[in-house]
Symmetry: C2
Subunit: 168 residues, 2 copies
DNA sequence: GGCTGGTATGTAACGGTATAACATTTCGAA
DNA sequence: TTCGAAATGTTATACCGTTACATACCAGCC
């Protein structure tokens, strides 16, 4: 619901369109992989798509409770496991929470910028950052399986003073 | 003293010496900052120094229980908060666990390589990686407060086949 | 149709992680 | 020595995630 400003990626877009396109992509991806995007799983995804903020599993359950019974944690975690597996959702380790993938479909290493003001999470896919991770690991002969990059800070809109300045 | 498994830092060192030097550094750092490294806090640090593996708060409590009563979680978390505050301990978000800082004293951005074979954690401080994080954030005008980089994978010793190959 | 097996969902209980709220003790400085 | 701040102790509780087991759904096949 909230829209931030300037360069922070998830800003000021047509969010209804954003949701719709992501859901369409989700349907397509699941069809391609012969995975079933059941109503349950879809509802969980929709909760995560509601805004670009990370949501905990229990919070997801609460939101689903608004129309019907509150699903047990297991239900939510199973749906999340599925959605993560097919690449539609990411887990944020530093928040113990989940967020819809910003660009599903394209295989990508993702990094996250987490605003501790408004809670907005920007997913970026920075090749140089990914490269630096790979290089650092290579240097010590470490085989990377799962690189986690979660940067907590302040998005442009939540910084008092210099507002609306983006520089790239 | 060569490090056997090539570059993965925490290999085959004189660990008794490692512990002793870190504790000495801890004493010095706390004195300098007029912070009190009380017996309780020191014991928690000692548990974390026992090996280069991340340990959860409850596990720390268990280990402390071996000589005396098991401290309540609060006790442990308070000690950890202190140790983190003065830079002697890091928290690993992806494991919900804690590890002694590899080079306390020097202000440093740290990144972690976590072996999912043996559990060893290597703390590195790679300026290029830190720089890539800073640059990625700058590009979208994001003010970094707390960059988390935790790379799960396999250390050289835990990789079957190609052993002892380090290339930097 | 009615099996049959795999996938998905439902239910209950529990274990691990972390904090809140409040009481007590310790310690250093006035 | 008294006083306030820091540290510790105790209890309860909230939040995150999994285990174990039961049931329902949905093919493909006889």
């Amino acid at each position: 619901m909230t829209h931030a400003t300037a360069a922070f990626p998830e800003s000021r877009h047509d969010h209804a369109d954003c949701v719709e396109r992501t859901l369409a992509a989700a349907e397509r991806i699941c069809r391609d992989r012969q995975a079933r995007l059941t109503p349950q799983r879809r509802r969980v995804l929709e909760v995560l798509l509601a805004d670009h903020v990370a949501v905990g599993a229990y919070e997801i359950a609460d939101r689903l409770a608004e129309n019907g019974r509150r699903p047990a944690p297991t239900i939510i975690y199973r749906a999340l496991d599925f959605l993560i597996e097919v690449g539609l959702v990411h887990r944020l380790a530093s928040l113990n929470a989940f967020i819809a993938c910003g660009h599903p479909g394209s295989a990508h290493g993702a990094q996250f910028l987490i605003c501790n003001g408004c809670g907005l999470v920007a997913e970026i896919s920075d090749p140089r950052l990914a490269g630096a991770v790979a290089e650092a690991a290579r240097r010590v002969d470490f085989a990377v399986l799962r690189p986690i990059v979660e940067i907590t800070g302040r998005c442009p809109a939540c910084r008092p003073g210099l507002r609306g300045r983006g520089d790239a």
